[in-house]
Symmetry: C2
Amino acid sequence: MTGTLFGLGIGPGDPELITLKALNILKRVPVIAYMAADEGESFARSIAAPHLPGGQAEICVRTRMVAGNSPANETYDAYAEEIAVHLQNGQDVAVLCEGDPFFFGSFMYFFMRLAERFPVEVVPGVTSLTACAAEASFPLSSRNDILTVLPAPLPEDELERRLLDTDAAVIMKVGRHREKVIRVLEKLNLADNARYVERATLPEAKVCAVSDLERTEGPYFSMILVQKRGEPWK
Amino acid sequence: MTGTLFGLGIGPGDPELITLKALNILKRVPVIAYMAADEGESFARSIAAPHLPGGQAEICVRTRMVAGNSPANETYDAYAEEIAVHLQNGQDVAVLCEGDPFFFGSFMYFFMRLAERFPVEVVPGVTSLTACAAEASFPLSSRNDILTVLPAPLPEDELERRLLDTDAAVIMKVGRHREKVIRVLEKLNLADNARYVERATLPEAKVCAVSDLERTEGPYFSMILVQKRGEPWK
């Protein structure tokens, strides 16, 4: 009997924002895997750390990000095979996913390589989208709003066009695109309808108005929320 | 000292998909409030039920949905005042929110009435969006995808235009708009890129291809997920 591959949504950062379901699986699987950058600690592992029972095998998936591109396919191929060996031996493997496995996550790269060979179960998690809205006390969408999720690397004119054509928006991965995004929001007179959030739900979280934001590079885990109805709750 | 108003995201349906943070607050507040339709059980309360310690005061917010519209403002005014009395007496009140409080929820109606008078804390929850993706084993978005959340009540030509202009989409509240949505997807040749999901994460969950879907009215809690890159994981 082969093991099950779990895509485990462990939430946006605060270890208390893990679900009971993910926690139970996290504690009982013999093998965990998680993404990490080329160097340094894995954010996903740090979220799970307070909950780990100890004694589990760990696969740290180190990926070198090529400017703006995804890591090489060969990297994922190799790690997928490492995971496959455990599954073939009947051991369950949980891939720890920041936020949610299927919402702008890296789990897809393992899913596409392993889902036809092994049983897969995906446990949804709290995404950065609603974590940022909660952190900023910013009602994101209601009733029949159209909500658009926009990656900040989009070209400036495309960001502009799409912000014009939606009720609410979440601009993700603001990082080094901050100045461009601010410029678009100001041009559209939407700066007062927006809120900047970085590292939501962590102790070092930061929330501020777009007008108070420095026009410098920021962390990758930052977002700008936009609600064009303004602040209807006021 | 006044109490705190909690907007408590309790997840999409499976009681195990509540977060540790929401669970801890749920168990210790003296007063809980939840939405319910004009008649019958509250879905939010049923999600929380296995976790309730007993002995809490409960405010059941009964709202009469006027065809396609939000319940009357007067209804929310009255319930907000009922909640305010507890807060004024120093009692914390948790409003139980299906999914997430700020993602197409009703919590906003209380937030807008009470946030300037009382401390408010919002606890984000797992939304139906990622719950449906997990239920259907459907990777929703990755890399620099543009993801659009579309309410199914939109006019047919607007649904069509917006589906043409996005990488991925989540069509919410499909319910009695099912036939229209199927027609649009077929016209755009996107039926094979879509998956229908109802009552995600509950025992009675249903997932099917759009081509297998009856052209009848369905439950309110149903969604169609669209990923125009097809099934890139295959």
